[in-house]
Amino acid sequence: MAGAVNLLVQRHPINSALSLIVVMASLAVEYLLLGAEFVAAVQVIIYAGAIMVLFVFVIMLLNAGEEERTKGSRVALLFGIPGMLVGSGLIAWILLQRSGTQAVEAGALPGPPKTIAWLLFHDFLLPFEVTSVLVLIAIMGAVVLAGHAESGAPAKREG
């Protein structure tokens, strides 16, 4: 949570990125507590390891500097923040009301990777394959988009 708040507060994007990494790491710990080791591992490897690295690369590449103070969007502030507050407040209230204080054991999940793998390749085979294709497309798109050097707007492919 601290990390999340910090992300908001920080001015320099690189600092925000670092605080996001903090968030990821703590989430991984939470997953462990819940007994989802596989997810925790994946979280660290993919999220913190790949995605955030990517972010940092881009920040470095583009030499993103401190944020300037420009005029913001009134609508966003006027509508968005109250909206968000209301939404989250409602959710919180509901959650606290309904779900009560059911306890969850720590490490309760029967989750050896073997079971997960079983599920992944049997029941969820189709989504798995589809997401593979999705990743492939994403790679192609990223290459195309970022591949042109100083030649104006590149032709956008499927993204």
């Binding site: 908001l8 939470e30 819940l34 997810v39 059911q102 029967p110 989750g111 992944l120 999705l134 988009l145």
Partner: protein, 100 residues
């Protein structure tokens, strides 16, 4: 024993922070990171529910969410790079050609 609702509330707070960041930040990259934050909050809720009901499908779903998030991050950053090339700025307010 941690009550389920705590996990969910935490997930909700993360999500809310993500939305706030999306709204108030000016740097495109920071906005993107807020999106990731939102996704993470949702992941947490999924895992929490999976733990409660004892089903593994929640974790599988989380897995997929992560995959999609990765793909999306890749492509999104590529877009940001090309936008930066044409506009020389990372200020989202200046990428407003879509207006009427």
């Amino acid at each position: 024993m941690v009550p389920l609702s705590y996990y969910l509330v935490l997930g909700g707070i993360l999500f809310a922070c993500g939305v706030t960041g999306f709204l108030i930040k000016r740097n495109i990259i920071t906005i993107f990171m807020s999106i990731e934050l939102m996704l993470n909050g949702v992941n947490l809720s999924f895992v929490a529910f999976a733990a409660q009901w004892g089903k593994l499908s929640g974790q599988i779903f989380v897995f997929f969410v992560m995959v999609v998030a990765a793909a999306e991050a890749a492509v999104g950053l590529a877009i940001i790079i090309s936008v930066y090339r044409t506009r020389e700025t990372l200020n989202v307010d200046q990428v407003n050609l879509l207006k009427l």
